[in-house]
Symmetry: C2
Subunit: 99 residues, 2 copies
DNA sequence: GGGATACTTGCGCGTTTGCGCAAGTAATGT
DNA sequence: ACATTACTTGCGCAAACGCGCAAGTATCCC
């Protein structure tokens, strides 16, 4: 027995929370918008979003560990792309709710 | 002119970020699940989720200020309900992405 | 190997978050 | 008025976040 009220499905809620958290920063949303057109390098994104490269790298790490983006290495540059079209779906829905 | 790269649509991204942030906590997601069946009082939710009443009140304040839930007072008890069906839509999408 | 470019990681700092607990407000009943 | 129930708000603290900056790793070219 659990003892706790609604322990069932907790790990699933936890993973959902991680995804929502990844979406909870304007710069990261900006990244998703840029990636909507296709894959981009870290420096491209850094330029698009308007932040320093290390900062962008950290934001991408958050998105990546939430499973929202995927990295592909080509030579010395790393290209990121959306790992799932539903991510944009979710963002659009949230924007719609935001009105 | 802005000077900053992608300043356009920033306020909209900000509002979207606030909504995503509201969805980024397991207990708050749990609240949404409870509210999916209809309105519930603060103490009901506190029991469902398994936390203290003041803590629940704070979580509800986050959801409310993000515009995801609405409060209705009946006598001394306050009932909360989802303010928009699309909120559940968004949660379902996120769960789907979480796999 | 040496140097340049592209990205990641570690560190320090100020801000925000979630929590428990106490105190405050609001409405009901006696 | 007093007590009770229902909820909100303030406070203090530990943990997490976002950021800038320096240092590290990786890849390419000469």
């Amino acid at each position: 027995m659990t003892g706790a009220p609604i322990a069932l499905g907790e790990p699933e809620r936890q993973r959902s929370a991680v995804i929502a958290r990844a979406l909870s920063d304007p710069k990261r949303l900006c990244v998703l918008e840029s990636l909507a057109d296709g894959e981009r390098s870290v420096s491209d994104l850094s330029r698009d979003v308007g932040c320093q490269v290390p900062n962008m790298s950290q934001h991408l790490a958050v998105l990546r560990s939430a499973g929202l983006v995927t990295a592909r290495r080509d030579g010395s540059t790393v290209y990121y792309r959306l790992s799932d079209a539903r991510v944009l779906e979710a963002y659009r829905l949230i924007k719609a709710i935001a009105g």
